[in-house]
C-alpha cells in the first residue's frame, strides 16, 4: 500500500475554506511581525555598517561615546595628522579631516515637531574619505561661506532642509545649496557645512573628531597603539565601522529584546490557532480515518497526511506573511538614536536569510500545531473510528 496522495491534504484544506483562511491569516500576521522586526534590525545594522568604512580611523576624546560628546583641540588634531600611516589622496593631500559634530533642533515638515539633527562641519576631504556620499542635486557649498548641504533624508523631512531654503542658527542664516545622497547610511540624516565657519558660529574652539584613511587597513592596531600611548593626547582611536556599530548598540538591543518577546508571545497564539484547526480536522474526519485504515493505509501514512496538512497551513501562512512584509521595504523609519540623541533614518531590509528564517519559523509553527492532532489521528482504533458518526 502506497502513501496517501498529497492532493488529499490539499483538498481537505480547500473543503474547510473559512477555517483554513482564518488559520493562515493568523499565522501570516505572526510571520509578518516576525519578519518585519528582523528586517528592521537588519536595516539598522546595514545603515550603520555602511556608514563607517573599515579602512577609516576615527579619533575622539577618551571616554566619550559619541562625536557630539567629544572634543579635540587644535594641537591634538595636528599631532594626529602627522601619523605616517595616513593615505595620500589623488592631489597629494593627506586624507584626513578635522570635523565638528553638533546637534541642532529642527522642526519636521508637516507635524512641526522638533527633532535633533546632526550638523557636521566638514572640509573638502570629507567627501573623499566617504565615497558613499555623493552630490544628488544643486552644488557643493563654497568653502568659507555660510552655505550648507543636507542629506536626502533631512531635505525631505525637515523644514528648511530643501535647496534654496535656509536655516537660522548661531546668529546667521545658512542657505542650503546642495542635497547629497549617502544611500542607506547615517550620513543621510546629517547636514554638512564648512567646519571653520560652523566653529565660529557655535563659538566652539575645539573639533569633535579627526578621521583619516589608512594607507593599509592592517596598520590600524599600530596607529591606535601609538596614538593612545602618546602622553600629549587623551584620545581614543577606533575603526570607523566599529565606531558606528557601537553607536547603535542600545537601539539594536532594544529591537532585539522587543522582537524576541513579541515573537514568542505571538507564535504561541498562532500555534494554538493551528492546533485548534487540526484537532477539529481530525475530529471531523474520524470516520474517514477509519476508512483509510480499513483500506490498508498504515498509521504512519495517516500521521504523515495530517502533518502534511498542517505544514501546508504553515507554508501558506509563511508565504502570505512574507509577501506582506516585503512591502515594508518601502517604509523608512526615522527615530532618535538613544545613544547619540540624534535623528537616524533607516529602512526595513529583506535578506535571503530573513526569508529562510521566516519560512522555517512558519513551518515550525505548523509542525508544532499539527503534531499532537496528527498523533491522535494515527492512534485511532479502526473499529471505533468507523463506528463514530
Amino acid at each position: 500500500m502506497g502513501k496517501i496522495p498529497f492532493s488529499y491534504s490539499i483538498r481537505n484544506l480547500w473543503t474547510r475554506r473559512l477555517t483554513t483562511v482564518l488559520t493562515v491569516l493568523g499565522m501570516a500576521l505572526v510571520v509578518f511581525v516576525f519578519a518585519s522586526i528582523l528586517m528592521l534590525a537588519e536595516g539598522l545594522k546595514k545603515t550603520l555598517v555602511e556608514t563607517g568604512s573599515y579602512d577609516n580611523c576615527i579619533v575622539i576624546r577618551k571616554g566619550s561615546d559619541s562625536e557630539v560628546q567629544s572634543g579635540i583641540d587644535r594641537l591634538s588634531a595636528s599631532i594626529v595628522e602627522t601619523q605616517p600611516e595616513i593615505a595620500i589622496g589623488l592631489n597629494g593631500d593627506r586624507l584626513v579631516v578635522r570635523e565638528l559634530v553638533v546637534l541642532i533642533n529642527l522642526p519636521k515638515r508637516g507635524s512641526n515637531k522638533p527633532s535633533n539633527v546632526v550638523i557636521r562641519g566638514t572640509t573638502e576631504n570629507s567627501l573623499m574619505l566617504r565615497p558613499q556620499v555623493k552630490l544628488a542635486a544643486g552644488r557643493m557649498p563654497r568653502p568659507g561661506s555660510s552655505e550648507i548641504m543636507a542629506g536626502q533624508s533631512i531635505a525631505r523631512r525637515f523644514r528648511g532642509g530643501g535647496i534654496g531654503e535656509s536655516l537660522h542658527f548661531g546668529m546667521r542664516d545658512w542657505t542650503v545649496v546642495g542635497i547629497f545622497d549617502a544611500g542607506n547610511t547615517g550620513f543621510s540624516s546629517e547636514i554638512w557645512g564648512d567646519v571653520d565657519q560652523l566653529m565660529q558660529a557655535f563659538r566652539r574652539p575645539v573639533y569633535s573628531s579627526v578621521t583619516f584613511k589608512l594607507n593599509n587597513a592592517a596598520d590600524f592596531d599600530k596607529v591606535k597603539l601609538r596614538l593612545e600611548n602618546d602622553p600629549r593626547l587623551t584620545i581614543e582611536a577606533k575603526r570607523e565601522s566599529v565606531f558606528y556599530e557601537e553607536q547603535s548598540k542600545v537601539m539594536a538591543k532594544f529591537l532585539r529584546v522587543l522582537g524576541l518577546s513579541l515573537t514568542i508571545i505571538f507564535s504561541a497564539g498562532a500555534t494554538i490557532g493551528a492546533m485548534i484547526t487540526m484537532y477539529a480536522a481530525v475530529a471531523n474526519r474520524t470516520n474517514e480515518i477509519g476508512t483509510l485504515r480499513a483500506l490498508g493505509f498504515q498509521r504512519r501514512n495517516i500521521l504523515t497526511a495530517f502533518l502534511m496538512e498542517s505544514l501546508l497551513l504553515g507554508l501558506a501562512g509563511g508565504c502570505t506573511g512574507l509577501f506582506l512584509a516585503s512591502f515594508m521595504q518601502l517604509i523608512t523609519i526615522s527615530t532618535m538614536n538613544f545613544q547619540t540623541f540624534a535623528e537616524l533614518a533607516f529602512s526595513f531590509s529583506l535578506t535571503i536569510k530573513i526569508i529562510y528564517q521566516s519560512m522555517f519559523f512558519s513551518l515550525i509553527m505548523g509542525f508544532v500545531g499539527g503534531v499532537l492532532p496528527a498523533v491522535r489521528a494515527s492512534r485511532m482504533n479502526i473499529v471505533d473510528a468507523l463506528r463514530a458518526s
Binding site: 571616554g63 546637534l103 535633533n116 504561541a268 498562532a270 477539529a280 527615530t335 535623528e343
Partner: protein
C-alpha cells in the same frame, strides 16, 4: 438561567478546543496589555511633569549651554518664583550597561522645585551641606546596593575623568509614576573642577529649571525669558516641563507608533483564532440549530446562543490574561529597568484589555451567527460537520 447553562454547556462541549482558545485569548490579552504598558511607560516622564515648572535651554539644541549670568536675569522675571541651574552630566557607572540619568544641580533650589522627591530631612541637610554629596533614587540605590556614606565613581563622557561622589541621601518618589532612578549631585562640584581642568567650559549651565507662581503664567514667563535673550550668542528656548518631555518622545515617536500598531495586530491575530473556533463550532452544530428552528425558536434566539458562547470564551480568556498581566509586567519592568524607569500597569490599560476581549468575542461570532440565522431548516438538517 437555563439559557446561561446551555451556553456554558455548549462552550465546553469540545473541552480541548475551548481551553486552547481560552489560552490563546489569555496570551493575546497579556501581550496587548504589556505593549500598552510599554507605550504608557514611554510617556511616564510626561505624566510626572509639573505644570508649574518650566525648562529653559539653548535654542540651538540641548548640547549647547547657557551662561551662568542668565540665572540672575531669569529670576527677576515677573512670575518666576525660583530658578535652579542644572547640567546633564552623562556619567557612566562602571559600565555603559548601567544607565541612569545623572545631573549636576544647584541643590537647594532644585530640591525645592521637585517636591515629588521625598527625602528624610537629615539626609537632605547632609546632601546640601557636602559639596561632594550625591542624591540617588531608591531604585538605583537598591539595584547597585548603595548605602548612605558609600563612595560612588562615575566616568564622565561629556566631562572627562573619574568623578567621585559620596552618597548622602536617597529619595523615594511621592507617586508611583515618579522616576526613582535619578542621580543628582552639586553643580558647584562640577563647576569648580572644570575651572581647574577646563576653564573654558566652566560657568556654563545646561538648562535652567524655573518654578513659576501659578501654571497660568507659563506662556507669559516663557515668552518674556526668550525675548530677553533674543539675538544674543545664546538664545534660549523656554517650555513647560511637559512640552520638554514630550519633545523627547516625539523624537522616538516612530517606535511608539510601531508598538501601538503591533498591539492591534495581536488582537487581530487572536480574532482570527477565535473566529475560527466559533466557525467550526457553528458548522458542526448546523444540524442542531435546524432542530431548534423546527421547534420554533427564532433566528435571534440562536444568534444569542452563538454570541453568548463566544462571549463566555472571550471573557474567561480575557480575565485570565488580565490577571497574568500584573506579575508579567512586574518581571518585564525589572528586566527592562534601564529603558523604563517607571513601568506600571495603568487603569486605562485594563479597560482597553476588557474592551479588546469583548470585541474579539463579538467579532468572532458575527459570521457563524449570520450563517446560522440564514440557513434553511432542510439544508441544516442535511448538513454534516
Amino acid at each position: 438561567m437555563f439559557i446561561l447553562k446551555l451556553i456554558f454547556k455548549n462552550a465546553f462541549r469540545h473541552k480541548l478546543r475551548t481551553w486552547l482558545t481560552i489560552l490563546g485569548i489569555a496570551v493575546a490579552i497579556l501581550a496587548f496589555g504589556l505593549l500598552r504598558t510599554v507605550v504608557s511607560a514611554w510617556y511616564a516622564g510626561v505624566e510626572a511633569s509639573s505644570a508649574t515648572r518650566l525648562v529653559t535651554r539653548n535654542a540651538i539644541s540641548l548640547i549647547f549651554t547657557l551662561p551662568l549670568s542668565y540665572e540672575e536675569q531669569i529670576s527677576h522675571v515677573q512670575g518666576v518664583k525660583i530658578v535652579a541651574r542644572a547640567n546633564w552630566f552623562g556619567g557612566i557607572y562602571i559600565d555603559e550597561k548601567n544607565f541612569f540619568p545623572n545631573f549636576a544641580v544647584e541643590p537647594k533650589n532644585y530640591l525645592s522645585l521637585v517636591p515629588e522627591f521625598v527625602i528624610p530631612p537629615d539626609q537632605q541637610d547632609a546632601f546640601i551641606r557636602d559639596r561632594k554629596a550625591a542624591l540617588a533614587g531608591r531604585k538605583i540605590a537598591d539595584k547597585y546596593h548603595w548605602k548612605i556614606g558609600d563612595t560612588i565613581t562615575l566616568k564622565g563622557t561629556i566631562f572627562p575623568g573619574n568623578w567621585e561622589f559620596v552618597l548622602r541621601a536617597i529619595y523615594h518618589g511621592r507617586d508611583k509614576s515618579d522616576d526613582e532612578t535619578e542621580f543628582l549631585f552639586h553643580w558647584d562640584y562640577l563647576n569648580e573642577t572644570l575651572k581647574k581642568t577646563a576653564s573654558l567650559r566652566a560657568d556654563q549651565v545646561g538648562f535652567y529649571m524655573i518654578g513659576i507662581k501659578n501654571p497660568g503664567l507659563a506662556a507669559e514667563v516663557s515668552q518674556t525669558v526668550d525675548r530677553m535673550f533674543k539675538n544674543s550668542l545664546a538664545e534660549t528656548l523656554t517650555e513647560t516641563e511637559k512640552a520638554f518631555a514630550l519633545g523627547f518622545i516625539s523624537m522616538s515617536e516612530a517606535i511608539v507608533v510601531a508598538i501601538q500598531l503591533v498591539s492591534f495586530v495581536v488582537i487581530i491575530i487572536i480574532m482570527a483564532v477565535m473566529a475560527n473556533t466559533m466557525a467550526m463550532t457553528a458548522r458542526e452544530r448546523l444540524g442542531e440549530y435546524a432542530v431548534f428552528k423546527t421547534l420554533g425558536f427564532g433566528g435571534a434566539h440562536l444568534a444569542g446562543l452563538i454570541f453568548g458562547e463566544s462571549m463566555v470564551i472571550a471573557v474567561i480568556g480575557g480575565a485570565a490574561g488580565i490577571a497574568a498581566t500584573f506579575p508579567v509586567a512586574k518581571a518585564f519592568g525589572e528586566a527592562m529597568g534601564d529603558y523604563f524607569p517607571v513601568f506600571n500597569v495603568a487603569a486605562a490599560t485594563i479597560y482597553m484589555d476588557i474592551a479588546a476581549a469583548l470585541l474579539v468575542g463579538l467579532v468572532a461570532a458575527i459570521v457563524p451567527a449570520w450563517r446560522c440565522v440564514r440557513i434553511r431548516i432542510a439544508d441544516g438538517l442535511r448538513s454534516i460537520g
